[in-house]
């Protein structure tokens, strides 16, 4: 027969001991842990930087429809300004300024390239279709 079963005092002591152990384990689980070692934190943050999803792409205006199409506006802004400057220049004897905004030009070029790509894809599809 187990000693605890044979002796009520020992059984009570074992129960108290078990309860104390349970309480201590619970306290240990609930205790705030020390901060991460600096080197480990650096490794984790380096992973986070490497894994970070790219920031959401800038929403592009709809290609068709819609009341406002900034890409289209940008594309025609430079030629329109040049034309206006040329007209003014002829009229007033002033040389037309170089009005192309580099950022706007880049956007316009990207839009045109995208359209060219889309057109090339469409053309290839048409050519492949019997």
């Amino acid at each position: 027969m187990d000693r605890d079963q044979a002796n009520p005092d020992h059984r009570r002591d074992a129960q108290v001991e078990a309860a104390a152990l349970d309480a201590a384990l619970a306290a240990l689980a609930a205790a705030p842990p020390p901060p991460l070692p600096a080197a480990l934190e650096a490794r984790i943050l380096a992973d986070a930087r490497a894994m970070r999803p790219p920031t959401a792409a800038r929403p592009r205006p709809a290609r068709r429809g819609g009341a406002f199409r900034p890409a289209m506006a940008r594309r025609f802004a430079a030629p329109a300004a040049l034309a206006a400057s040329a007209l003014l220049g002829f009229g007033l004897g002033v040389a037309p300024p170089a009005v192309v905004d580099p950022a706007a030009a880049a956007f316009a070029e990207a839009d045109l390239l995208a359209e060219e790509d889309a057109f090339a894809t469409l053309l290839a599809l048409v050519q492949e279709t019997p």
Partner: protein, 180 residues
């Protein structure tokens, strides 16, 4: 709402500070759990880094409201620890050393301040599977059938591991009573 889920969404949206905050909030607990289960600092750090890496990976697909981020992360870490424990050479359950009968009342007489340190050291000294069973039971709150499934043993074997682990803890803590 789970604040960690909000931070995870911010990280997924490209907020660089969110990762730092999440790491500070969750990393230490994951490392503590891994230390408990593995009793090996280098392995525990590797598991923590791997668990956090999985968190970063799942961030864009995280569905708020289905689980707490901290719970999910602890389960990932626990599974990573178990994988490592399974790869370690282990003795058959019956070959594990049986602790001698503990002296009653040893643990309850310890000073409160000593308890955590002594218990922590005693946990680290347990055989791998006993320590894993105790950590899963007392730190993760898993029921015995879930621990059995995680460790790949029967429920009876889990009960034996827990009983042996608890006896070993009591034995390891007995000398502290003599010091006080």
């Amino acid at each position: 709402m789970d604040p960690d889920a909000g931070l995870l969404a911010a990280y997924a949206a490209g907020d660089p500070l969110a990762a730092r905050t999440l790491t500070a909030r969750l990393g230490p607990r994951v490392l503590a759990l891994a230390r408990r289960m593995l009793a090996d600092e280098a392995e525990a750090e590797d598991v923590t880094q791997e668990a956090m890496m999985r968190l970063w990976k799942i961030a864009p697909d995280w569905r708020t409201g289905e689980a707490k981020v901290s719970t999910w992360l602890h389960r990932v870490a626990a599974n990573l620890c178990l994988d490592r424990l399974r790869r370690r050479p282990t003795l058959p359950l019956d070959a594990a050393p049986e602790a001698p009968d503990p002296t009653p009342g040893a643990f309850e007489t310890l000073a409160e301040a000593d308890r955590a340190a002594a218990l922590s050291a005693a946990l680290d000294a347990l055989p791998d599977r006993q320590r894993a069973a105790i950590a899963l039971r007392h730190f993760e709150g898993l029921a015995n059938p879930a621990i059995a499934e995680a460790l790949g043993v029967s429920v009876e074997a889990v009960e034996s591991l827990l009983a042996r682990g608890r006896r070993a803890l009591a034995v390891a803590l007995a000398p502290h009573r003599a010091e006080t």
